[in-house]
Amino acid sequence: MDPLSWTDIFLRIAAQLAPVWIALIATFALSITFKRRLGLYGKLFDSPIGMVGFGLVMFWTYTGIFAGAFDLILTHDVLDQSASMKNKGPGTPFTQMMGTPDPNAYPYYLLGGDNLGRDVFSRMVVGAWEVIKIAPFASLFAFMVGITLGLPAGYHGGRLDTVLSFLANLILAFPVILLFYLLVTPEIIQTGIPVYMAAVLFVFPIIFLVLLWNSRFHTQPATRNLYVGITLLVGTWLYLGIAWNADPLGIVSFPPNLLVVFVAVVFVNAPTVFRIVRGLTMDIKTRDYVAAAQTRGEGTWYIMLWEILPNVRGPLIVDFCLRIGYTTILLGTLGFFGLGLSPESPDWGSTINEGRKLLSMYLHPALPPAIALLSLVLGLNLLADGLREESLRD
């Protein structure tokens, strides 16, 4: 068989991505049809920048989900090596050094093979899954921590603020890479420190929700007990499973090397979120509706969580998008330095790192993951920009 021409490669990739196109078209069609009823999300479809950003983000989200969770899209297993495919260029027909290839196997390496003879295209699409399953959740946890600490720091000020701000600045004074090198190593996993850190960091979402319900419903004990009870039950179960790997039911667990990556990323992001929330809180707390709540004798957590927090959601949503992007970059950095994830992992950072070593000769192993990462982060930034612009309008 002859190698494919570039046109063929593009057509075949496009065909391979068919489920993604279908999902994208459906999303856009539905969203544009109902955009007037969808609030801020709907307004996004008035802004070309926002739409491009959203499209890029959803492209990679769908790609990641279909490839990682449903085994669609990808053409070969991400770990299968074929010695005869080492460093072969894009469109090379699939061969194996020993034995005949499985007749059902996809006949080409669409974007070529890497230095171990693995399929670059498949590794790139599965790399999206590596990002999708960590970045949004790590950002979410960072937000929970940052909000739970930033609100009281900004609202009360004083000594509490001084101490918390000092801690935040302390973490921010660390060069991120040094922190990663110190935290994300097999030796540190041995000591169990990531588990303790996870134990502290992951308790914040539970605290956050309990405070949220309690402050809102403390006047109606029955409702309050129901909400708080459910939160504590579900929260503790997930918490035991995720942080301590001790789920009594044995359903929830978290691989330790993924946990350390997760914890490190949350740890690095939380102080920035803290600073943003603190600043916004200091601004909003001078508003009259906050004073009105104070003069009704509302508790401080009610004021912070129900009077202040909903009114800073605009900037926080925008920052959330940016933060997912930044987390993606951080995950890439970890991969680039070979920290945390297993060396075989198809994540973009590791693939770029492997590919760069032969860069002066072969471009194709390093470029696809680099461009993928760039386009996802760019999409998130454009999305944030679109959201910011639309939330400021009217």
Binding site: I177, E187, L367
Partner: protein, 347 residues
């Protein structure tokens, strides 16, 4: 003003102590020490051998004692072994009686690097000079172009220039150094594309930096930071351009170029100034990535070497340097802010 600086220096020292203690604590955890022992000795050491190696070199003393030694407030360890006296503060070949009791950073002794087998102070100095050179060029390239970009985009919000420049700025902030570096090497340095305008490695730049071997690393670092500063400047400029005093100036009959230069610029640069100063610590990350990518043996490269080999004292020195960089830039940004912004007076 003096009390302010003193307070800031106090905070700085406190931060440095906390930070180094954290680094110290993490690097002195037993699994890390075990790794150190094995890299120093050999990888087939038994647990007992590891333990005795660590004991002989004072690694098994209590954490605070060890930290005190590093600071220089606790006497260095001295072990008499097979008739010879070895100690933390005893230089090879020096009679034990002449050696000082304390040898920590307070005495100006930064310790000994186990990777490079050299004095940490010497290594840090050398590498900092190399990285300083890199940073200087990054700043020279990044700051003026970022400010210009931001001002041009922000002075007419929503115009075509603004859209184009903003998209460019967003793209650069979305491109981490390890992506842009790879792209640049691929396009400008690899034999596959064939342009080969620049060198894909900056190893040679350590001795003799030239445009050819130095431009790509500088561009790579500068680009990532540039977008961020440009966007801040743009936002600030756009906000200033809608301010009432700009309308006042316009309705006084001031021409547009003069409005931008005389009325808007100074106000618009207040916010980005802080950002530029706070970029320094952030650039440090870029430096680590770029120095690894381009194999430029500076401070960032040293950090990676020290960290991957658990070179405790070198890592500590690296952390001290970075915390000082971070906090000094913060201090400068605060002071500079006051001079740029007449609304805040210094009493």
């Amino acid at each position: 003003m003096v009390t302010f600086i003193l307070r800031r220096v106090g905070v700085m020292v406190l931060t440095a102590i906390c930070l180094t203690f954290i680094v110290f604590f993490l690097t002195n955890l037993y699994p890390n020490l075990e790794k150190l022992a094995k890299t120093q000795g050999n990888f087939r050491m038994t647990d007992a051998e590891v333990e005795s190696y660590l004991g002989r070199n004072g690694y098994l003393d209590p954490m605070l004692v060890k930290y005190g030694r590093w600071i220089g407030v606790w006497p260095g360890w001295v072990i008499e072994e097979e008739g010879a006296t070895r100690g933390r503060c005893i230089e090879p070949g020096q009679p034990p009686e002449e050696a000082p009791r304390f040898c920590g950073i307070l005495q100006g002794d930064w310790g000994f690097s186990t990777v490079f087998r050299k004095d940490v102070g010497v290594i840090t100095g050398e590498k900092l000079a190399l990285t300083g050179w890199l940073m200087l060029w990054v700043m020279v390239l990044m700051v003026p172009s970022a400010l210009m970009l931001g001002v041009l985009a922000g002075m007419r919000e929503g115009s075509r220039t603004d859209r184009t420049l903003s998209t460019f700025a967003i793209t650069t902030t979305a491109t981490p150094e390890y992506v842009s570096g790879v792209l640049f090497i691929a396009v400008f340095a690899s034999s596959a594309v064939g342009l080969q305008w620049f060198k894909g490695t900056a190893t040679g730049a350590v001795d003799k930096p030239t445009f050819e071997n130095f431009f790509l690393p500088v561009l790579t670092i500068a680009l990532y930071g540039m977008g961020y500063i440009a966007r801040m400047t743009r936002a600030s400029m756009a906000e200033v351009m809608t301010a009432q005093y700009i309308r006042t100036a316009r309705l006084k009959g001031v021409s547009f170029p003069n409005i931008v230069l005389k009325h808007a610029l100074r106000n618009a640069l207040i916010a980005p100034f802080t950002v530029i100063m706070l970029q320094f610590p952030w650039l440090l990350n870029g430096v680590v990535i770029v120095e690894t990518l381009f194999n430029y043996k500076g401070f960032g490269w040293t950090l990676v070497q020290a960290a991957s080999n658990n070179d405790i004292e070198l890592l500590l020195a690296v952390s001290v340097v970075s915390v000082v960089v971070v906090l000094v830039t913060q201090l400068i940004s605060d002071i500079g802010y006051v001079y740029l912004n007449p609304r805040i007076s210094v009493s």
